[in-house]
Amino acid sequence: MKVDRRSFLSFVIGGAAGTALSPLPWKLMDDSSIWSQMWPWTPVPPDGEVVYEDSTCTLCPGGCGISVRKVDHRAVKIEGKKGHPVNDGGICILGLSGLQLLYGPTRIKSPMKRIGERGQGKWQKISWDEAMAILTEKLSDIRNKGEAHTVAAIAGTEGGTVPALLQRFMTAYGSPNFIRTPSHQDADELAVKTLFGASGRTGFDLENADYILSFGSGIVDGWGSPVRMFRASSLWKEKNVTVVQVEPRLSNSAAKATRWIPVNPGTEADLALGIAAVMIAQNMVDPGAVAGAGGWENQLLANYGTKKVSQVTGVDAGVILELAKGFAKANRPLALCGRGKGLVAESLRETAAVYALNALTGNINQEGGMWAIPEADYIRWPDVASDELASAGLAQPRLDGAGTGRYAGARHLLNRLADAVNGGGPYPLQALLVAGANPCYDLPDTRSVRMALERIPFIVSFSSFNDETAAMADLLLPDHVYLERYGDVPVGAGLAQQVIGLSKPVVSPQFNTRHLGETLIVAARTMGGATADAFPWDNYETCLEETLAEKWDALIEEGIWVEADIAPVADTVRLAVTDAPAVQAEGDVNSFPLLLIPYDSIRLSSGYIGDPPFMIKTVSGTVVKGKDGFIEINPQTASATGLSEGSVATLTTPRGEARVRVHLFEGIQPGVVAMARGLGHTAYDGYLAGKGVNVNELIGPVEDPSSGHDAAWGIRAKLAKA
């Protein structure tokens, strides 16, 4: 049989016919489409039983209640907790992104020690035992040399048992250098102390106020407890409450306000005092408030005449009168201060001026007014019994100078640390512990901060994340993130009640991390002696339970504890302090004709927490494009510099220089350049690092003459086409 061409052809045709009549081509066609519908590399989330677990968010000081949706053991979504007194079901963009922090690539997954050069990013995973040994040996060495005071600790906050344990550790160890990250809280505490003569903080009954005068407070940009502020803002809309926003830039808060008063940057205090002067001059003040403040009144009338204030602030005299009348005539007026999110303290002059406005209306400790209340005081541990080494160390002056001399009013001056370490301080630092803070990114003039850290021989970071400061550390002892641990969350943030929330472990720890409270207890006990004695608890949970005492059960049950009925720290305000000079922007007007001001955006996390991928995704293309960060300038400023939308420019300040792109915005004063905070990270992950410019690299601290707090609201700058 000869298989010739035609036989072969016939075979092929037969085969084709047979194939067509078999399921092969059709099933393959169908299956390949089904394959494309379920590509093995496209994840399929496993199904399971859904449960909700409540906790408290600690990503910002706001203290919102959260409800975490879990599918079996996975946390899949964070939602606001309904009925919670702070946020009642609402939630902010950062709170929503929490799971990206929990499961994200920025986590430090295990204790590690540095093996390469500092900042090189070479680490070796070590066991917790080894890590604790390194820590305690190093600290014991320093202490045994009688140099306990040369160890400093930087904490993001002071509230709650964990920072308290750190503070206690420092005390028992023998160092006065527990330093809190600066914020508006510094100014607020100082103002309360100055005006009311007692320690405490302010609380604002925003929901019952009917006229809001905000001096740059980012009401909907993250000031205070953000979700509560959003809710208040909507409530004001419903009740037709007048909201006046005083700010050089049309921020979101300004846009939401009934009225936006563009003011020359840094002159908010002058405007506040100018308004106060009008109120006094026109006899629109609460008589009780000014009793015995005659000297202050006269000083005010003499120095803050409307015309002069108008000149300084750039606000029309007529507008100042209008504001004064509107504010004074309202039933329950309320004035707020603390720029943007309140990340930087403003000067005492400014805080006091705004609080004085409140006092003038007689709204102190009244419904819809400003309250001066004590911090929740539930951490009542026995005093630390200092041994000799500790007493010697504690007798040393603080490195940042807070609490003594010209800085007598200040409690923490982290802004002064860099200078102190770089040569200006009384002694060098041998070790630095950092918890819940990222000074290498957050502090103004980050370059000098970094330089200071380079001089410190031993740096320990307790951060859960690969942040800029962790990158400078020698030892990483990663803390759990809030969704993996217990923690008490005392909420300040402008709330007029005392509120304590409870964070609970929603999921089991994802990595080889350890609760910071636990780490501190273990460290203290390992070091033995008086240090160990100060930490009588077996573990952190016991400590927390004992500390919260009767509140513990309520917190476990409800997740929150509220004390609404609190006695104010004082009822009378001592009106004083106007003679301090205004805080000026650093730099020479001739070389730097423009003013650079940072601005806060709720979509850009600007504290210790870096923007998670969800959030950075929502950031407008006119704030970040690719790796480029933008500045906002008025088209007028732009045309004077020959710049147009999107063009690249070099922004120079006395502290640094950056390549930026230009976004033209009519909502900003000519001559002012605004840059968003929260960008320009060098650490974290590829979703955040390298995008935009860190404004702190361009701005340096400016000390408030009354307190030493960094009160820089901006810096002089110049802009050139690149």
Binding site: T42, K77, G90, I93, P105, P226, K237, Q510, Y687
Partner: protein, 275 residues
């Protein structure tokens, strides 16, 4: 076997978004991304290739300093009804990968049916439809937070806001178990509505007078579902898209920015659409 839905009036799920309350905080966008397994890339600054079912536009009044005003406008899928359910996008889809449900008024998108021709994207004047130009990739470990209620979309298909339809499906489960007839208003709320800290979004059945959204919008069924609320407007109402997302504002310039007007035309008073 008969089906109970046959005897109930069809629902028209819709939204009212108060732009005077909206602060542009982005919580709705993020809640949506978290709820619906929306992927992200390293660089999302090019908004033309950034999947955001809910996107916030920034509007401005075009005036110079200091008379400038801005307004944020959250834009989910508008779930157009068009004329009789022929919304701009569904009628053009060649493979019936998207349809309009008369029962809920929701425009679906079936990712496994879609083969990525993108005609619907061209048809949608709101740019509410997004294409998966890339494979969705989560950094190692982060896929743990993905929700099983919403399918992860593969590369090469179009996706968009579904009014969190899976929440309706889940709520219906409960309704079956409880032996009720309709999903209660509170049991079916979209993720953005739930998250909005300003309470700017109200979601519900526009046909149901008991629902808050109906009370706010007061839709005029005689007049193409135009709102009777003088504060309300819809985006590009003149095109006849008959959307179910209503916006509210006291500011005339904002309401005017919601549609195209010839210079002489008054805001809100426009000729009827041509079809």
């Amino acid at each position: 076997m008969k089906h109970e839905q046959n005897h109930t009036t069809p629902m028209r799920y819709g939204m009212a978004i108060d732009l005077d309350k909206c602060t542009g905080c982005g919580a709705c966008m993020t809640a949506c991304m978290a709820e619906n397994n929306v992927p992200f890339k390293e660089d999302e600054s090019d908004k033309l290739v950034s999947i955001t079912w809910m996107r916030i536009f920034e509007l401005n009044n075009g005036k110079a300093f200091p008379d400038t005003d801005i307004c944020y406008l959250p834009r989910p899928c508008q779930h157009c009804e068009g004329h009789g359910g022929h919304s701009p996008c569904v009628s053009v889809c060649p493979a019936t990968a998207t349809d309009y449900s008369q029962e809920t008024g929701i425009v679906s998108q079936i990712y496994t049916r879609c083969f990525g021709c993108r005609y619907c994207m061209g048809a949608c004047p709101y740019h509410a439809r997004y294409f998966n130009w890339w494979d969705p990739v989560w950094p190692d470990g982060m896929e743990k937070y993905l929700s099983p209620n919403v399918s992860v979309r593969m590369r090469g298909v179009v996706e968009k806001c579904s009014f969190c339809f899976h929440r309706y499906q889940l709520a219906k489960n409960q309704v079956y178990l409880d032996g009720e007839r309709k999903v209660p208003e509170a049991d079916y709320q979209t993720a953005c509505t739930q998250a909005c800290p300003a309470g700017a979004i109200v979601f519900g059945d526009l046909n149901n007078p008991e629902h808050q959204v109906h009370q706010i919008v007061k839709p005029d069924s005689e007049n193409g579902n135009k709102s009777r609320n003088p504060r309300a407007f819809r985006l590009l109402e003149r095109l006849g898209t008959n959307t179910k997302v209503y916006y509210l504002s006291n500011r005339e310039w904002v309401r005017r920015a919601g549609d195209n007007y010839l210079a002489h035309e008054k805001t809100g008073q426009v000729s009827k659409p041509h079809h």
